[in-house]
């Protein structure tokens, strides 16, 4: 799409979102710069991925390729996966263990801090060639990111102006992360889902508490989450982060609100042949059966009963994104809990009973709104504000996303 014309939001409200925001190439490039490479924190991996010094994973912050590595001092470092010489990828592996990194192109070498330490034939050959004597290796390293860890999660930020991670998240969101991640993590599997839509459509979908039991019939039918159940949504003061939650409440079981409105997702006759799928244990010691938490711009921590996962939203152009799923349990899970998590993981991921629709619905919006860049979507459930609410029949957290987005983008 042409980006030369000036794009503007219709007015100051957060309740109308124009579709060019999901389509415009220049706006997309600005997002990478101002949001992903700006004063935000991006999830990059789990501490459990890097148990020993030298263990590394490669990933992305926005579209920037990044190496995340456990350094000799036990701390975690992150730097751009781009050789300072000619810009080639330094590491071609998804994960591994290294004493140092060496670019394959011309064998320039980096230590675990991402500092350039060696240049092949730096002094030339037989007294000829080589780098100028005044060339400073230390001044030519790939960009280094700040890192911060939180209950086993590793975040990185390219921007010196990003507030400390704890400040960035705020006390309420911190508490909701701590609620889930109380024990050492064991990774159970990783999958990538390629979605045919702009990254923001997925983030909005995750924050959209209104859709969950309407789009996902599986949820509603088995009362994993219904809007008539107890629960609510926390929205961080800046709007960017959220945690939605469902509390099991016995009096909902008789509610006929879905049936009365003829909503597809309620089917009284639908029963599991093997009900072990939904046999869950209250392992966190509170009434919350389901909690979905996002950190701006693209991190999701999910607890659906005993089914735990983190999701990383990676933009890949205006019309495409990748969702990187990491399924996990805890290192001290009993064999029964381990088996329960494997069964409950049917709920999520690209084939998830309550998540497969999220893989296609963003594409439905992209295709539906393809010719409507200057039309707007309506985000008005629960009013116009972004405050936390004790109901999920609201789009407060979606508006919160746009509040934070507009601030970072200067829109």
């Amino acid at each position: 799409m042409s980006s030369s014309e000036a794009r503007a939001w219709p007015d100051a409200t957060l309740t109308r979102v124009p579709y060019w925001l999901y389509q415009d190439e220049a706006n997309y490039r600005a997002e990478l710069r101002r949001i992903f490479e700006g004063p935000t924190w991006s999830f990059v991996c789990l501490e459990a991925d890097l148990p020993r010094a030298g263990d590394f994973r490669t990933t992305f912050v926005g579209e920037m390729p990044v190496i995340v590595v456990r350094a000799e001092d036990g701390g975690i470092r992150a730097f751009e996966n781009r050789c300072a010489h000619r810009g080639a990828l330094i590491s071609l592996d998804d994960q591994g263990s290294a004493k140092h990194f060496q670019c394959v192109y011309h064998a320039w070498t980096y230590d675990l801090e991402g500092t350039l330490t060696g240049i092949a034939f730096e002094k030339g050959s037989n007294g000829r060639g080589g780098m100028p004597a005044e060339f400073s290796k230390a001044a030519h390293s790939p960009r280094k990111l700040r890192t911060a860890t939180l209950h086993g999660l590793v975040f990185a930020s390219l921007c010196a102006d990003a507030p400390p991670l704890e400040t960035y998240l705020g006390d309420e969101i911190l508490g909701r992360v701590a609620r889930v991640l109380r024990r050492p993590i064991r990774v159970l599997g990783r999958f990538v889902q390629v979605l045919p839509n702009n990254w923001k459509l997925y983030v909005e979908n995750v924050k959209d508490t209104y859709h969950a039991s309407l789009l996902h019939a599986f949820f509603g039918t088995f009362r994993i989450t219904r809007l008539t159940q107890g629960g609510g949504v926390l929205v961080s003061p800046d709007g960017g982060h959220h945690a939605s939650y469902t509390i099991d409440r016995a009096d909902d079981r008789a509610s006929t609100a879905y049936r009365d409105q003829g909503i597809r997702s309620e089917r009284q006759d639908y029963r599991l042949a093997d009900p072990r799928l939904l046999e869950s244990v209250n392992e966190l010691g509170d009434d919350i059966r389901l909690q979905i938490l996002t950190v701006f711009p693209g991190f999701v921590l999910q607890q659906i009963q005993n089914c735990l996962a983190v999701r990383q939203v990676l933009p890949k152009g205006p019309d495409s994104m990748e969702l990187h799923w990491t399924y996990f349990g805890f290192a001290d899970d009993t064999p029964e809990m381990h088996a329960r998590r494997l069964r409950q993981l049917n709920l999520v991921g690209p084939a998830g009973y309550v998540s497969m629709e999220d893989g296609c619905v963003g594409g439905f919006v992209r295709r539906g709104a393809a010719a409507a860049p200057d039309e707007v979507s309506v985000v008005n459930m629960g009013g116009a504000g972004t405050e936390s609410m004790e109901t999920r029949a609201t789009e407060a957290s979606v508006r919160g996303f746009w509040k934070a987005y507009r601030r970072y983008m200067g829109q």
Partner: protein
Amino acid sequence: MAKLNADYARAIDDDRLEDWPGFFAEPCLYTITSADNHRQGMPAGLMYADSRGMLQDRVAALREANIYERQTYRHLIGLPAILDEKGTSVRTETPFLVVRIMRDGRMDLFATGRYLDVLVEEAGALRFRERVVVCDGGRIDTLLALPL
């Protein structure tokens, strides 16, 4: 063995999903993973069923609950390599290729990989005690609705 695989593929590709659990013994294991996860001993699957009932539930969910655009698969299943024969069970590895055909006619190479099977005879017919679907890649385009 060839007949079992041919019947299995036709049941899925011809949209007779209700027949699919019948290819499995009870108890059974059906899971879909990636070569990377498999190599690293990661146990989680994109689909995971350790009973025939869970396979039936997968079909019921696809029919009654889940939303996805109309699509079909075309399975091409290669020759099984027999890895091990122990008493009444046979362990095999069989390559596969699945093309996904969307409602607008678009065809994509959706998945390639290998079936790691344990076959047993049950009521005079071969059944899957285990079918571990190891996809060569760990990337799924849009969503994975129908079983592989």
